[in-house]
Symmetry: C2
Subunit: 290 residues, 2 copies
DNA sequence: GCCTAGGTCCCGTTA
DNA sequence: TAACGGGGCCTAGGC
């Protein structure tokens, strides 16, 4: 998350200036210029350009383009809602006919097009793109482009119901618990959870087939490879573990005896069958102590 | 995409009514009640409740809660921008301190929290959740909850800079080109692209290890298994193909001779080595004819 | 830049 | 409902 959220990362066409250019705390940290609860009719963009929010309802194409362009230039988070078509071309290609969608342009170059359904955007562009907001044939057109790979997203509005630019200041980063990394820590601090006598020797140990999650020895000194998963696993995880075990067997000696243990909350039936076929083992553990 | 976008799919607390309840074309299809380009101060929510957009700049917590609750009830796409904390608990758990974020509540129950960076939301909830917007200790709190699995997302605002509700009508669905399905069609219509004499016999043929993309015979009548990938592949795809080949060898005869061919634009070095070790083959093909 | 693997992956399809 | 695999996956970490 950026602390200086209004700084443009895309870095093209440095323009007029940014909101709150000289202070780092930005709009939300200073005393509000407006009393709480002002209505749209009181909080016009023109009168409070440094408040961190600029909006327009039912703007003309030109007004929307100006607000969006200015917002992008200032490093704001820009949103548009309206009726549009979306065309994408790059690693794949797609077309989307007219419909009402929510468009978000982020200062890091990401672009998102959301319909009213689904967690995933219907179309998007990853961070690192250049956003271009222009008027084409009297309509607002937003284009988000990047090279390597060459990819372009073109959003053509037939009407814009809402346009907004937000100055975002977000100094915090997310702290997640319950990941595979937590499972790893749990095992490293309590190796006996895997089995009595297990001794971890390395994490991310490299093999010709890739890095092993945890590498160690059992009570009899036999090499043990652990593949960790934070949730119930299917056949893919078995294949992964199998590759590591086979690679290590080749790498150590031709006759090396390497045990492979899949550590996860549970396995599917097919995965269990594959484990049995390959002579691999399973230990049930969750990232949390539950 | 929904044609009746304002219909609530979550289906709880049926309330007052929906925008444009009796027509299916909604706000954007009818003649606009407002001239284009009206300013925020002219387009107040109270005066145009059926125009498909309701917004407030710097609302009080109560006003934001009312707008959001009403929007959710009416099946609108609701957005909030402001300073907030986010707590998630479910399959994993996370905490996020105070910062400026954009929150989107979709009528299908999806919730998205976006910072100014990244294509992915920093926190989210999948479709199927219930959104609850309330006042807690004079602050707006948005909670999105689901059971199976039990998961909850709680967003606590210290201030709301913008609140909006959009009626979204999106009859279109996305049409993508350049997928694995396109590669499959390409091969089925021109099997010789794989190799001269190749004859596809089935797609999605079931094996004990899963469904094979394309199942067929070579010019000598030997069984051939194709694993297709739309892009450059790594070790995982080799493992997948290997599982299918081994399963078929067991399934047909003990001494069955089954060829496995990975079809993709290209492979990584490690994947190539794994292919060689397992006696599998590679054919370079892209979904498009390029 | 590529490679490798994780993800609260999401998502569609099928049994 | 669970399972399985695709995805324009995205994202982080190495090299």
């Amino acid at each position: 998350m950026s602390t200086r959220s209004w700084a443009r990362s895309g870095g093209s066409t440095p323009s007029a200036g940014r909101w709150c250019i000289s202070t780092t705390s930005a709009a939300f940290k200073r005393e509000r210029a407006l009393p709480r609860g002002v209505r749209d009719d009181e909080a016009v963009e023109a009168t409070h350009p440094t408040d961190g929010v600029r909006t327009r309802v039912n703007p003309t194409a030109s007004e929307a383009a100006e607000l969006a362009s200015d917002g992008v230039d200032r490093g704001a988070l820009v949103t548009l809602f309206g009726r549009c078509t979306v065309d994408y071309e790059g690693r794949a290609a797609s077309e989307l006919g007219l419909g009402d969608r929510h468009v978000m342009l982020k200062p890091d170059g990401a672009a998102l097009v959301h319909t009213d359904e689904g967690q995933q955007p219907v179309n998007w562009q990853p961070p690192g793109c250049e956003h271009d907001c222009r008027i084409d044939d009297q309509h607002l057109v937003v284009e988000s482009h990047r090279s390597s790979p060459e990819e372009s997203l073109v959003i053509r509005f037939s009407s814009v119901a809402h346009a907004a630019a937000f100055a975002a200041d977000d100094p915090e980063s997310l702290d997640v618990v319950g990941t595979e990394a937590d499972l790893k820590e749990r095992i490293l601090s309590s190796p006996e959870l895997v089995e009595s006598g297990f001794r971890p020797l390395a994490t991310e140990r490299e093999t010709p087939a890739g890095a092993v999650d945890i590498y160690g020895e059992d009570r009899d000194g036999r090499t043990v490879v652990l593949e960790l998963k934070r949730r119930r696993v299917g056949p893919d995880a078995v294949g992964q573990l199998s590759r590591y075990v086979e690679a290590l067997q080749r790498d150590l000696h031709a006759d090396a005896d390497v045990r492979g243990i899949l550590v996860a909350p549970s396995v599917t039936e097919r995965a269990e069958a594959l484990l049995a076929e390959k002579g691999l083992e399973f230990v049930s553990l969750t990232p949390q102590g539950k």
